[in-house]
Symmetry: C2
């Protein structure tokens, strides 16, 4: 069995600076792997019900279509699909993304699109290109853990924004904005770890405020297509573009997308949409970082999307994940004791449970693992050690009956606190 990782592991310690070892083997101080990371290794056990990962359901991967696409590509232009490629990414795929992402008032071309090796690389490159030591960045609290891992080594300061069920409390942002942050980072749709979605009203207000305060916006939107109820809301990228005055600055947003959640994460293909000058800079950093993203992966993805696979695949995913979300919500209702609350996501892959403050979620995890149930304690997603009584639950990776069984076991542990 593979121990599959996903984005959820402990935040990295500062990688830089560190002491150079006299010999690599002896002087290198062993970085402590966090308790959580060690515990989560146990989730590889075959009979474990895991709500811990951020994994798509593997039984829904379009394996046959990937196979057909790969055969087509290798038959038709195999040498090109195996050769070095442009750092910017496959031109046809960039064109496709530009067309898909264009809106009235937001005309995009290939030059606004850069292909990356998964959305995580976009975050890494954005941080390296745009952030300097001492810079401040507003993030939701809790926020996506691997964003913290990517940007923390840069020596920046995270400013935690208050959040509620409708996302960032935009009306409370002024004090943070007055601290002159460089960036605000948000996952507006079905946020990881909370599952919450930024409301339409707050979206409009947020892009306005950020322009007023000269703060750039990174919109990380991996779950966009995974909406199970309600109407899709306009992206911050689109809303911001509406504010642009003719001849003025065109955009204040870097949008990050990925094929990981709608096609297959193992191909490692994501993208950024941004003004051309920003794409150029990210591309230069990417070139030094990994030259380019797998040419074969890009060709496979392009072959799939140009044959309209997403139009079949997304409804499939929505149907299955909606059922799983509903199974988890009703199991929580049934099995979790009073005094616990949880978010009710309109989409995505996660929800967050808040336990009574006296219960520590990491302690609970230790007991849960003995019962063969896993989750990620919410603390790791929070700044400043908050969220010790929260858990992130993934509902996309297990079938509904497993979800029911797992939540029941967790609930019974909560009924009998240590």
């Amino acid at each position: 069995m593979n121990r599959n990782v996903d984005e959820v592991t402990a935040p990295l310690p500062e990688l830089n600076p560190m002491n150079w070892p006299r010999r690599f083997a002896t002087r290198t101080t062993q970085m402590k792997r966090s308790t959580i990371r060690e515990l989560l290794k146990l989730t590889a056990q075959p009979d474990m019900i895991s709500f811990a990962g951020g994994l798509p359901a593997p039984e829904l991967f379009p394996i046959a279509q990937v196979q057909a696409a790969t055969n087509t590509i290798l038959n038709r232009h195999g040498a090109q699909a195996l050769q070095y490629g442009e750092t910017e990414g496959l031109a046809e795929l960039r064109d496709w993304i530009a067309r898909q992402s264009s809106r009235p008032g937001l005309p995009l071309t290939r030059s606004n699109v850069g292909i990356v090796s998964g959305a995580q690389q976009a975050l890494d490159l954005i941080g390296r290109v745009l952030l300097n030591e001492g810079d401040k960045v507003i993030v939701e609290n809790p926020t996506y853990i691997a964003l913290l891992s990517a940007w923390r080594p840069l020596g920046i300061e995270f400013l935690p924004a208050p959040c509620d069920a409708r996302g960032i409390c935009v009306e409370d942002l002024e004090p943070l904005l007055r601290q002159r942050p460089k960036l605000l980072y948000t996952v507006p749709n079905f946020q990881n770890p909370q599952g919450t979605t930024l409301s339409a009203e707050r979206r409009a207000r947020l892009v306005e405020m950020l322009r007023q305060h000269d703060v750039g916006l990174v919109e990380d939107d991996p779950y966009h297509e995974l909406r199970y109820q309600g109407d899709s809301l306009p992206s911050l990228l689109e809303l911001d573009a509406r504010l642009a005055s003719p001849g003025g600055p065109e955009n204040n947003v870097i949008y990050v997308g990925t094929f990981s959640k709608v096609l297959a994460p193992g191909l490692r293909v994501g993208w950024v949409v941004a003004p051309e000058e920003v794409v150029d800079k990210l591309v230069q950093a990417k070139q030094a970082s990994d030259l380019h993203t797998s040419t074969l992966s890009q060709h496979i993805i392009y072959e799939l999307v140009r044959n309209h696979l997403l139009e079949e695949q997304i409804p499939l995913l929505r149907h299955a994940y909606r059922e799983r979300r509903d199974a988890m919500l009703s199991a929580l209702e049934k099995h979790f004791p009073r005094g616990t609350t949880w978010t009710k996501p309109d989409g995505g892959m996660f929800l967050m449970v808040t336990l009574p403050t006296e219960i520590n979620a990491t302690d609970l995890l230790q007991r849960a693992l003995q019962q063969k149930v896993a989750f990620v304690p919410g603390e790791a997603f929070h700044l400043h050690g908050q969220g010790q009584n929260t858990l992130r639950l993934n509902f996309s990776n297990a079938a509904p009956d497993k979800i029911e069984a797992g939540i029941r076991r967790l609930g019974s542990l909560l009924d009998k606190p240590v």
Copy 2:
């Protein structure tokens, strides 16, 4: 036609720090793309004879075998090949690399191997994990240009080591070692851009000196298997391990390898071999950087190597590239004027020509492009603006008759200096 990039483009300007733009689109100062990079865009013209890239011969890619391997994988464990994977890399592939790289006195296991998204990512991660601003690093002069791109933004100082036809002049290293560098970076076999190989005597002396001076060694060895004459020399990794005393520090070398030159660069799979503690740190940095390398690519590579494809592929490559090298060497003899010299590589993909000092290679490139011949001026590989009269010529990407024609055209330009 794709404009294929390879590692050769202009060194990056400092990415960090830079001023944050009020709007990304307006305040971002346009980074100047170098003259060379702009010129090299012209090499995409279909009738160009290009000695500029570092591209393997696409007609030798094992396309049918990649296709068969992909079908096997997707039939047998498709979901696993499309799912998230471990940051460390596919366990079976790491085991294979550990077995292949083990030597008497150098027992390696999976824990000594980390898979990366091409060797370039290894260089990037090594720099980010191990180097701090102000650190000094010894490099060959000229050296691999994308190493400069990857490490220059870290604010380190490069110390240029003198080189000759047998690689780094180890006997002249003492003054540099006394400056207390942290690392020495070298491409010991068929160096890029010079094509030279570090001699056996110098290898032994180098690892000894570096241990004495507490300087770590990064051994970048992409062309290892592409030897066309003479005996393979022991790696610095292996030689260094022989110096380890029982119970003492095991190793002072990080070895970087890649499947790009022997299988296909588009798959983007390389590796590092290092002490476990170093691999752990690189893996942590990689996790924040791109989570993991394409699972599908790793499965394809493993399926190919476990079926012994390299044992067919490497002789094929050696045969073809030896012929191309010989074609280039004899064309140079025939067409290049007196006063020009060039290296005579035992393997690899490149050689370096030195013109009379009054000829500027960038000027020559402009005239060469009009004659539909391209190369990379050697200046870009040199520190401190040296090498203005040198050119790097790639001989792996063009057929022998093209090589003859291209060198003839270049030679005729040299006969008639402007």
